[in-house]
């Protein structure tokens, strides 16, 4: 018998848990609305906008919705793309079939093995070690960073690392802007030029939320020991538009849970391209997403591009989909421009093994 936990918690009373949200309204705004309802004539309520975001969502084409959900999933980490069920607003379930498309490298195979085993392993052990934030740089932090929270999981991960001859890459520093990464690595300009925050639909305030202070997607990344890095950011193209992407650089011999896994659906156009420094690139362009893969001498680059060949729907401006408003479809030329805008020689040099 199935019970929906959230439904069963209706009318439950909770008194203590502190809760906050940047989207909480201001008391004076609520006061005006309440007074206008209860004491009309004494106050005037703010007017609702003519355009309802909900009407917009209901009109969303299924493909655009899947695109939006998949994109947000990718933001949470590539590993979560392994098998993702997507729910439409009407509740109809669609399961995305995602194929693995990464090179047959030890780093990828180890990450894949770990992804497939750790779900069960997390629950298998009794010695939960992941409750508290471990000391940065400690062995516990390394295990926690890769999702090993029980003794059984630790042992399994150790076995995988030994099998593939890898070591865990410790987190050195998080960062937000490319300039911070350049300062951390002592190398400049190996990422494409970033868009100007606030100047376009990708990086500006959410157009659907008047007065919203947050950007649709905040650039962020992390640099790991041995030169591995992950970064979610934007690239400015010559046409003036910006493209959001997730970059993962895995150094040879280093293990990063989930970071070596690239997944994609069907219907992709795939072709090869050679970067200026001779690096061979594989490009995949799908309807709502695109990938670029490159094998370097010292590591591997995986690029997940949050745009695709299908034109964004002008009427998809709600929440997660808002980022697509006003952005043209991603063409082969645009993907190629993005792909060759990375300095692969510099990325290779970061991977010191």
């Amino acid at each position: 018998m199935e019970h929906n936990i959230r439904d069963l918690l209706d009318d439950y009373t909770e008194e203590e848990i502190p809760l906050r949200s940047r989207r909480s309204p201001r008391p004076e705004t609520v006061q005006k609305r309440v007074e206008a309802r209860l004491f009309p004539g004494e106050a005037s309520a703010p007017r609702r906008p003519a355009r309802s975001l909900l009407r917009t969502l209901r009109a969303l084409p299924a493909a655009a919705l899947l695109l939006s959900l998949l994109t947000v999933t990718a933001y949470a980490g590539l590993s979560s793309l392994l098998s993702e069920r997507v729910y439409t607003p009407e509740g109809a379930r669609e399961e995305l079939i995602l194929n693995l498309g990464a090179p047959e490298s030890p780093e990828f195979q180890a990450a894949l093995d770990w992804e497939q085993r750790r779900e069960a392993l997390d629950l298998a052990g009794e010695n939960d070690i992941g409750l508290d934030q471990p000391e940065p740089g400690s062995q516990e932090a390394l295990y926690a960073q890769n999702g090993a929270f029980t003794q059984a999981a630790r042992e399994a991960l150790d076995g995988i690392l030994e099998q593939y001859g890898l070591t865990m890459a410790a987190l050195l520093s998080p960062f937000q802007e490319p300039e911070e990464l350049y300062a951390l690595t002592g190398r400049d300009g190996f990422l494409p030029p970033a868009g100007q925050p606030g100047q376009d639909p990708w990086t500006g305030p959410d157009p659907n939320i008047p007065g919203a202070e947050h950007q649709i997607l905040l650039p962020s990344g992390a640099l790991y020991e041995g030169g591995s890095l992950t970064y979610s950011g934007y690239a400015l193209l010559s046409g003036g538009g910006t493209v959001p992407y997730d970059l993962t650089l895995i150094a040879n011999g280093r293990f990063l849970a989930g970071a070596g896994i690239i997944t994609r659906g069907d219907g992709f156009e795939e072709w090869s391209l050679t970067a200026q420094d001779g690096t061979a690139l594989t490009l995949d362009l799908g309807s709502g997403q695109a990938f670029v893969e490159a094998r370097l001498a010292n590591g591997a680059v995986f690029l997940f591009v949050r745009a695709g060949a299908e034109p964004p729907d002008e009427d998809t401006d709600i929440g997660r989909v808002a980022a697509y408003s006003g952005f043209p479809p991603l063409t082969r030329e645009m993907l190629e421009e993005l792909a060759v805008s990375f300095d692969y020689a510099a990325l290779n040099a970061l991977c010191i093994g």
Binding site: R6, E15, P27, P49, L131, I209, R320
Partner: protein
């Protein structure tokens, strides 16, 4: 102004009590609703639903039995958010939301009220921080990254605790153990 005084003024029909409640609890009520809506509603929607909660407070001021407002407001706010999503067909169900109960107790849980009562008892019997993680996720609809941020835990620890809590609840319900043993 504390809850007792706010309630006293509300029951006396004094709008100052309502103003104090709005001043004190808009942040919390708005957060409950914002978490429910996530990006499925605009800031205007959140403002309006938050206002609905305080209108309800005024309209029900004579029937509120609890001496504390926060729990009452939180429950109403959560219901406002979920009603909004349901009305607009935006309420989704994920596999993690479903508790599959088998065994002898399944028959008893055919009664929704019984299932609800048992679940509430089971949730309250969870040890901390599992209970807080569970309620943040299932009651307040906070995302795992937000829970990890607010509770200063690693995301994977939150996921692991949630899975464990869910399994524990199911086991307790199926075996009729714990706080409702013999119920």
């Amino acid at each position: 102004m504390d809850d007792a005084l706010i309630l006293q003024k509300l029951r006396a029909g004094d709008p100052a009590g309502l103003g104090a409640a709005i001043e004190t609890y808009t942040g919390y009520v708005g957060a409950v609703i914002a978490n429910q809506l996530r990006r499925r509603g605009s800031r205007e929607d959140i403002e309006e639903l938050t206002a609905n909660v305080f209108v309800s407070l005024w309209e029900n001021r004579l029937s509120i039995r609890s001496g504390r407002l926060r729990g009452w407001l939180g429950a109403v706010a959560r219901n406002e958010g979920r009603s909004f999503l349901r009305k607009n067909r935006l309420l989704t169900v994920s596999p993690e939301d479903v508790l599959l109960i088998s065994g002898d107790v399944a028959e008893k849980l055919l009664e929704r009220d019984e299932a609800r009562r048992l679940l509430w008892e089971a949730v309250d019997s969870l040890t901390e921080p599992d209970r807080e993680i569970f309620l943040r996720y299932y009651y307040y609809d906070q995302s795992i990254p937000a829970i990890a941020r607010d509770m200063k835990l690693h995301r994977e620890a939150v996921k692991s605790r949630l899975r464990r809590g869910r399994d524990k609840l199911r086991d307790m319900l199926e075996r009729e153990e714990g706080p409702f043993h013999g119920a």
